[in-house]
């Protein structure tokens, strides 16, 4: 399923291959630094072949480490070449990182179905890839908290200020000369944008927590998908590839329980849980 996703992206990115050949070579990222020698047209051809070939091979034989390695290498190089025009975007970073982790999935060998050891190894690597994805959201939340603390010491407006989201939206719209009615409305209605900003920080900061609390996995996944939808509607930032990862792994997680009661979920919520336990005992 995962490698079907990589294959889909390889096909979806096909219209951009010609543009890659026309990219200047002044800001090449390190995985494609060799393009200085081959020239951009040859580099684009090599990278596109590796990307599509690797993705196809891994989709056909995901149990082969060599195929998974080729897919990871192709994805890494394609992303590097794509972002060698002066700014690194981050839409496909999570796919690049998780494809590298998946190279270390255990070899299936002749044992079909895999034995207990093989199953444990497989789940451990899968869990790590999922944890890596959630960790990046927590790092983003941590950045906002650190940023707010630093700005508070400077006497500046922080991420916790009621106007913070309005300022982000207005700044982004002006910077990119974009028009967006939802963003414009939220910039003018602080009472609506402030809770969204605080909720976003909470959701991001504790995303990594959810991997250790399986009852929260599906809720956090839905929250993060809605967050991506909101950033598109307000800031015109479309982070589609991570949404597919979140949906595949978070909603259909083998670690999440089939059902989880509201009380159990509240008892797992970060910051809320201690208060909930205290009052539920009384």
């Amino acid at each position: 399923m995962y490698y079907a996703g990589v294959l889909y992206f390889a096909f979806a990115d096909a219209p951009g291959w010609a543009d890659m050949a026309a990219t200047g070579n002044a800001s090449l990222l390190w995985p494609v630094a060799w393009a200085h020698v081959t020239g951009m047209t040859a580099a684009a051809l090599i990278v596109a072949t590796l990307y599509l070939g690797g993705a196809l091979a891994a989709a056909m034989a995901p149990d082969r480490r060599l195929c998974r390695g080729l897919a990871a290498l192709g994805l890494l190089m394609f992303t590097a070449l794509h972002y060698s025009a002066g700014k690194i975007g981050h839409g496909t970073h999570l796919w690049v990182l998780t494809s590298i982790v998946f190279v270390f999935l255990p070899a299936q060998g002749a044992a079909t179905p895999p034995d207990r050891r093989g199953r444990q190894d497989y789940l451990n690597v899968f869990w790590t890839a999922h944890a890596l994805v959630l960790l990046t959201y927590s790092m983003s939340g941590l950045g906002k908290v650190f940023g707010a603390l630093w700005q508070a010491t400077q006497g500046q407006v922080t991420a916790f200020h009621p106007q913070a989201m309005a300022l982000h939206i207005a700044d982004r719209m002006l910077e990119t000369s974009s028009q967006n009615p939802v963003g414009l409305w939220l910039a003018d209605h602080v009472w609506a944008s402030w809770p969204l900003m605080l909720g976003t920080i909470y959701l991001q900061l504790f995303a990594f927590w959810a991997i250790f609390r399986p009852r929260l996995l599906r809720i956090w996944t839905v929250g993060l998908i809605l967050f991506h939808l909101a950033t598109y509607l307000t800031l015109t930032i479309r982070f589609a590839p991570p949404v597919l990862l979140l949906a595949m792994w978070g909603l259909a997680s083998p670690f999440a329980p089939e059902k989880a009661g509201l009380r159990a979920i509240l008892a797992d919520l970060p910051l809320v849980a201690p208060g909930w336990r205290f009052f539920s005992k009384k």
Binding site: W30, R117, M139, S140, L142, G147, V157, A159
Partner: protein
Amino acid sequence: MRPEKSICPPVHGNGYRPPTNAYRRRQGWLAAVLAAQLLGGLAVLAAPGQEVFPLYSWFLFALTPEPVRTRTELRLLELDGQAPRVPMPLESCRELVTPAQAPTVVRLARDLGRACAAQDESEVQRLRRTLEDNFVRRAARYELVELSYSPVERLHGGTEQVRKVREFKTGQP
């Protein structure tokens, strides 16, 4: 049916089977991957551009814009010998930049502004080469300006203060 080969030692009296050293070692490697992502992401904050692909801090929108904001912008003054009626922000010129490419041009304007402020001429020339190789591939004259404004007021038609930083011509130092 062949019994499964267990990686765990025999079951203890209470039913608990402690993990083997090999299992602990594998888990240690996987924990190291997560630690590398976290620590590597924080370490690259010190690198130029604050990232080393594919490691990134993920500090997106970490700083809230000030109510009065200062930023740099690239403005097109002339394209193929023809001047627009008013200087046009380069990221808005659809003949040169697609909407998807606009954030990259905005980022290049920011980096160029920083390089000009630091009087780092080699970095200025590198950034100009990146800009001109990828976006401004025709004969053009453009300028780098510094803008000061209130984002929320500006969104509703408020004014901005403009200060010219430097002017460039494609293909010329």
